[in-house]
Symmetry: C2
C-alpha cells in the first residue's frame, strides 16, 4: 500500500469481489435466441437425432445377408417389395432391412426389378437412431458460451429452451457541469460526454446490458439521488468522474455516506484516482474522468467482475512477446499501463513502440495495438527489453497491415486511407524522423517510408546516403512554414522572433525533418531555440493549438482548410516521396497506389490538405 492510501489493482479487485460478489440469475430462453449467452447448467439431449434409423443416402433398402452372392461377374437381381425398397436420404429404414445400397450402384432392370453387383454389409449407409445426438447426452456444460453450432446441437437434441445466466445490468452515470451530450457543439469550457459511450459500449461487448443514467452536475445531493435510483435497478453502477481528490470530486464522500468505500486510489497509472464501494450489497465503481483512465478502470474492475459473474477463470486475452523499441521511464510505486504500437519484424518478432502516456488522449486508445504493463517496482525499461503485449487488435490484422513510417503531412492519412480501402489491407502510419524511419525500413519493421526530398534524390534533412531513393514514388509537394494566429496579431516573421519572451512556439520533436530544418536555419540566423516551446509531431495538432490560442506559432504545412482558422507564412517546399519495399511495389498494392496517385478527384482532396501534385513524376 502506498502512503497516500492507494492499493494495488489486485488488492482493490479482491476487496470488490469479496464485498460485492456477482450474483447472476438463471433464465430460460429460446435456444434460437441464445447465441453468445452462457449456459447456467448442463443440458442433456431430450430426443435422439435422428429419432429413427434413417437412410444416409438415396438408394435401396436391403437385407445385407441376402446380398452376399452379388459380384460384378454374378449380378444379383432383386425384386421391389420382396428384396428391396426404394429409399431417399432421411427416410426411415424398413424394419426388415439393415443396409442401404447407393442409387449409383443399382442397375434398374425393369419395372420393380434391379440388379446389384456387390454385397451390402450390415449397417451400411444407415444412420442409427442417435447417431448425431443420443437422448441423455450432455450437450453443453455450465459456463459454456453458446455459439451457432451449439444452438444447432441443442435443437438437434430437442432442447427448445436453455437455462442461461442473466446478463449483468450496468448503469453508467456521468457527472460534471462541463459535460454536454454528443450532438451539441461544445462551447468554450464544455466537453462532449463520450465516456458513457466508451464505457457502455465496452460493457456491451463484454456481455452486459447497459443503461445510461444521464449527465448529473457535480452536486453531492444529486449524485446521491441518481445513485440510489440506479442501484435499485442495476447489478453494477459506474459513476464517471468526480472520483479524485479535487474540490469537485464528491463521489468518494457520497459513496462513504451511502455504503462502504472499499478503495480510494489504486497504485496504477493512468486510472489512479478510482474509487470502489459497496452500497446495498452492490458494487459501485467511481472512475476518473480522463477517457484512458476511465477505460482502464473498467478493464481492471468491471471486466473481472463480469468474468466472475460467468464463473470464468481465464480471460482469453491474446498476448504476444515483443521488444521494446524505445526506453520507457515511469515513476516507482505504481504500475504503469502503456499503449503501444506494434511493428512486425521480418523475423516474426514484434517491435513495441510506446504511444503517448496522456490519460486524455482517446485517439491513442483507438490507435493502440496493445498494452504493456510496467510493474510498480520498475522505473525504467531500456530499449530492446522483452515485454508481453496484450493485444487490442487481431494478430492477423497486425501481420497483414502495411506500416508507413516517416514524416507527417495531413494529406498522408487521406491518401493512405484510400490505399487501404482499395487494397483491402489495413494501413497505419507511424510519424517519426526520417533517419529513424529508414533504420526501421532496413530492419524490415515497416513496409514504406515517407521521405522529404528537395525534388532530387537528396534528403536535405537526413544524413542518410545509403538508401537507394531512385524507386521512391513521388506523392506530391508540400509547403513548410509557420502557422500563426488569424491576422498574425503577434506580427511573426519566423525564427527571427524566437528571442521574444512573450511568444509560445510549437515545434516538431527532435529528429523530425521539420525540426532538423529549423535547427539548421537557426545556425544560419544565429538564433537559439525559443524558451517557451512545446514539441508536437502532428502538424494538425500543432495548427489546432495555435487556433486555440495556446501558442503564437507552430511549424507546419500549408493547407487550404486552415484558411478560416489560422494564417500561414510559407518558408520552404519539400517533395514527399514514398519508399516502398520492392515486393510490395510489385504486388497489387503497388499498382493500386500508382493508380491512386493519378486519380484526379483524389488529387483535389489531397491538394486541399496541402499536398500538391508533384511537378515531375518519374516514368
Amino acid at each position: 500500500m502506498e502512503k497516500d492510501g492507494a492499493v494495488t489493482v489486485q488488492e482493490a479487485l479482491d476487496r470488490l469481489l469479496q464485498a460485492a460478489p456477482p450474483r447472476p440469475g438463471i433464465e430460460r430462453i429460446p435456444t434460437q435466441q441464445a447465441r453468445n449467452r452462457y449456459m447456467a447448467e448442463p443440458v442433456q439431449a431430450q430426443l435422439s437425432m435422428p429419432s429413427y434409423s434413417a437412410s444416409a443416402i438415396d438408394g435401396i433398402a436391403v437385407r445385407s445377408e441376402a446380398t452376399q452372392a452379388a459380384s460384378p461377374h454374378t449380378p444379383m437381381k432383386l425384386r421391389e417389395g420382396e428384396d428391396f425398397a426404394w429409399i431417399n436420404t432421411g427416410d426411415p429404414i424398413p424394419a426388415w432391412a439393415d443396409a442401404v445400397i447407393m442409387v449409383e450402384h443399382v442397375n434398374v432392370e425393369g419395372e420393380g426389378c434391379v440388379a446389384i453387383t456387390r454385397p451390402a454389409s450390415s449397417f451400411q449407409h444407415v444412420r442409427q437412431t442417435g447417431e448425431d445426438v443420443a437422448a441423455g447426452e450432455v450437450l453443453l456444460s455450465a459456463g459454456q458460451k453458446i455459439r451457432p453450432v451449439d444452438q444447432a446441437v441443442l435443437l438437434a437434441g430437442g432442447v427448445w429452451e436453455v437455462p442461461v445466466l442473466t446478463r449483468p445490468l450496468v448503469t453508467i452515470i456521468a457527472t460534471g457541469r462541463e459535460l454536454v451530450p454528443p450532438g451539441l457543439e461544445p462551447q468554450r469550457g464544455e466537453i462532449v460526454e463520450f465516456n458513457s459511450t466508451l464505457l457502455g459500449e465496452t460493457l456491451r461487448e463484454w456481455g452486459a446490458i447497459t443503461r445510461y443514467g444521464g449527465i448529473v452536475p457535480d452536486d453531492p445531493a444529486l449524485i446521491r439521488q441518481t445513485l440510489e435510483h440506479a442501484l435499485e435497478q442495476s447489478d453494477l453502477v459506474i459513476v464517471n468522474a468526480g472520483s479524485s481528490k479535487g474540490a469537485k470530486d464528491f463521489v468518494p464522500s457520497v459513496l462513504k455516506e451511502m455504503g462502504t468505500l472499499l478503495v480510494h486510489g489504486v497504485s496504477a497509472r493512468p486510472g489512479k484516482p478510482a474509487a470502489l464501494a459497496v452500497v446495498a450489497g452492490k458494487p459501485v465503481l467511481g472512475l476518473p474522468g480522463y477517457p484512458v483512465s476511465a477505460y482502464l478502470g473498467l478493464e481492471w474492475f468491471a471486466k473481472p467482475w463480469i468474468r466472475k459473474w460467468r464463473g470464468e477463470r481465464t480471460s482469453h486475452e491474446e498476448e504476444v512477446p515483443a521488444r521494446l523499441s524505445q526506453p520507457v521511464h515511469t515513476r516507482m510505486g505504481a504500475e504503469d499501463h502503456l499503449r503501444v504500437r506494434l511493428l512486425a519484424g521480418p523475423d516474426g518478432n514484434w517491435d513495441a513502440i510506446p504511444l503517448t502516456k496522456g490519460a486524455g488522449v482517446t485517439f491513442s486508445l483507438s490507435q493502440a495495438d496493445g498494452w504493456i504493463k510496467v510493474p510498480a517496482d520498475s522505473s525504467q525499461w531500456t530499449a530492446g527489453k522483452n515485454v508481453s503485449v496484450r493485444l487490442t487488435r487481431p494478430l492477423s490484422l497486425l501481420r497483414d497491415r502495411i506500416l508507413v513510417a516517416g514524416g507527417d503531412a495531413p494529406a498522408l492519412d487521406i491518401l493512405l486511407s484510400a490505399w487501404s480501402k482499395q487494397s483491402g489491407r489495413a494501413v497505419a502510419r507511424y510519424v517519426t524522423g526520417m533517419q529513424d524511419a529508414l533504420d526501421r525500413w532496413r530492419k524490415g519493421t515497416c513496409a514504406a517510408v515517407v521521405v522529404e526530398t528537395d525534388g532530387t534524390d537528396t534528403l536535405p534533412e537526413c544524413e542518410e546516403r545509403d538508401t537507394d531513393l531512385s524507386h521512391a514514388l513521388p506523392l506530391g509537394d508540400v509547403t513548410w512554414g509557420w502557422i500563426v494566429q488569424k491576422g498574425n496579431p503577434d506580427a511573426i516573421v519566423g525564427i527571427q522572433d524566437w528571442h521574444r519572451s512573450d511568444l509560445h512556439w510549437i515545434l516538431p520533436p527532435s529528429g523530425h525533418s521539420g525540426r532538423i530544418f529549423l535547427e539548421k536555419a537557426a545556425v544560419y540566423a544565429g538564433v537559439s531555440i525559443p524558451l517557451h516551446r512545446k514539441e508536437e509531431p502532428s502538424y494538425l495538432k500543432a495548427a489546432a493549438a495555435v487556433y486555440g490560442e495556446g501558442a503564437a506559432a507552430a511549424w507546419g504545412i500549408a493547407f487550404a482548410e486552415y484558411a478560416d482558422t489560422v494564417d500561414f507564412l510559407p518558408i520552404a517546399r519539400r517533395r514527399l516521396s514514398l519508399l516502398v519495399t520492392p515486393s510490395l511495389l510489385k504486388e497489387t498494392e503497388g499498382e493500386i497506389l500508382l493508380q491512386l496517385l493519378q486519380d484526379q478527384p483524389l488529387r483535389k482532396v489531397l491538394q486541399r490538405s496541402g499536398l500538391d501534385k508533384p511537378t515531375i513524376i518519374r516514368g
Copy 2:
C-alpha cells in the same frame, strides 16, 4: 475439375465472386450505434478535442515567466486576480496564463494569496486545443471495424454520424417434406429443422442480417416462388438441402431455369453437392442438407463473399500448428475437411485427434476445437504429421481446459460438467481405450484419465502395470452388460447369441475396455465376434440405436433412465476411478472434485445415470 463436373472450392468461389460480386451500400448511422459496423469512408474530426486550452489538473493558472524566481528557499507569493487564478481540471486557461501549478504544490497564505516554491514551465499541465483530436485528423479509415474506443474517438472529434457499410441481408430457405420446426417433437420420418438456425446465427455472427424464408416442401414450383420472393429482398439467398443429385433434389434445376448455375458439385468433403448460382445478379447458394456439409458450404462461400462485401483481404482466423495423433485416410480427388479435438502437450505443442467424418454429426461441430484440411492430392496422412489447425475456440480456453481421457459412462459428463462449473475451467472428455488414455497421460496431453478397475489397483482390461494407481480417486461403480430391446424380444442372453445371424450388435471399438472384456469373454466361451456389428464408443448412442430398433443388443452401462426405453442384462461390475496429475489434485480443482464426490444431491443424479457410490472410498 473432376470428371463428375465438380470444381475446387477456390474455383467455385472465384466464379461466384465474379458473377455475383457483393454490392454493399453506404448508410449514415449515429456513432453511438455503430459498434461492430465497418467504416465505408474515412472520417476526419470535425472539432478539436479539447476545443479550447484547458487545465489538465486542479490548481492555479499562472504566467510561467513570472514564476521563475520561486524556489524552496525563496517561496514566491502570488496574488489572486493579478498573478494567478484558481482553476479546476478541464477549465479554460485564461488568455494571460500559459501554465498551471498543481494544487498540491500551492500553499495558501491567506485570502487571495498563495505561495509557490518552484517555478512553472510554459505549457505545464495545459491540455492544448486538439491534444486528443485535432479538427481535420483522419480518425478512422474505410474498412475499419468500429470498436467502443473508436466510437469514443469519433465523438471526441465531433463526428455524430458515421458512414458505414450496409450489412448484407441474407435469406435462408429450408426445403424438405421431412422437416418440422424446432419445438415440435419429430415423428418417425421427421427431422427437426435446425440448419436454418445454424446457418442464420453463423451469418449474424459474421455481421449479416438474416431473414428466415420458412420451410418449403420439395416442389420445384414452390421452391421457385419462394426464391423469387427472397431474391427481391435479399443480397444473398441460401437454399438448404435439395442441392444434390437425388430424385428430390430440385434446387439445381430450378436455379438453372431462373438464372445461371455456376457450379454444381465441389471437390471437397463434406459439402460436395453444393450448387452456386447467380439469379437476377444476386448470388444463390444451394447447400447440402447434412448440417456439417451445410456449415462448410457457408464457410467456403458465404464467409468470403461477406468478407469481400467489407473489402477485407484477410480472414483473421487463428491457426495453430499441431501433430496428427492418428493416421487419416481420405479419398483422392477432393479435399477433406476434418474436425479435430486438440490436446495441449506439456511442451506447448498440440496433438490433433480427428473426430468423426460424419456429415450428419452436428454434435461434433460443437465439440470440435478446430479444422484441418487434407488436400485433394493426398489420400493418407500418417500419425505425427505436422498439420495446421484452424481454431474454433479461443486458444487460451484450450490451454486452460482440463482434458479427461479414457472410458465412457453416461454419468461422467454430468460429474465433469459440475466440476467445470465449480472450478471455472472448461473440462472436456476424450473417450478412448485405457491404454491409449494412459499413454497420453504419460505424454502429458491429458490431465486426467478414467480407469476401470475391479475395486483394487488392478486394471482387468489393460496390460498397463507401470502406472501408480494408488492416488486415483474412486468416482463410483458401474454395471456393464447388454442393452436389449424392451421386453428382450430376441431372448438374448449374451455372447452365447453372437452366432445368431438374425441379430445385429453394437460393440465398443477395439481397444476400449468393454471391447477387451468381451474379447476375453469370447475366448472363454469359444465364440467368435458377430458378423453383423457396428462399433460405437458412446454407451448412450449405443442405447439409442437399440431403442430405435437399429440393433438387437448393445454393450453398455446399466442406467435407471433407460428403463422406459430398453432393457438391460447385467454382466460385470467395474469401479471407475480418476487418475489425476498430482499438480491438478493439489490445486483448488482437486479439492472441488473431492467435495463434489461427497455431494449427496449430485450423487443421486450420478446414480440415476448408472454411477453408484463406490463402496470403499480411500482415506
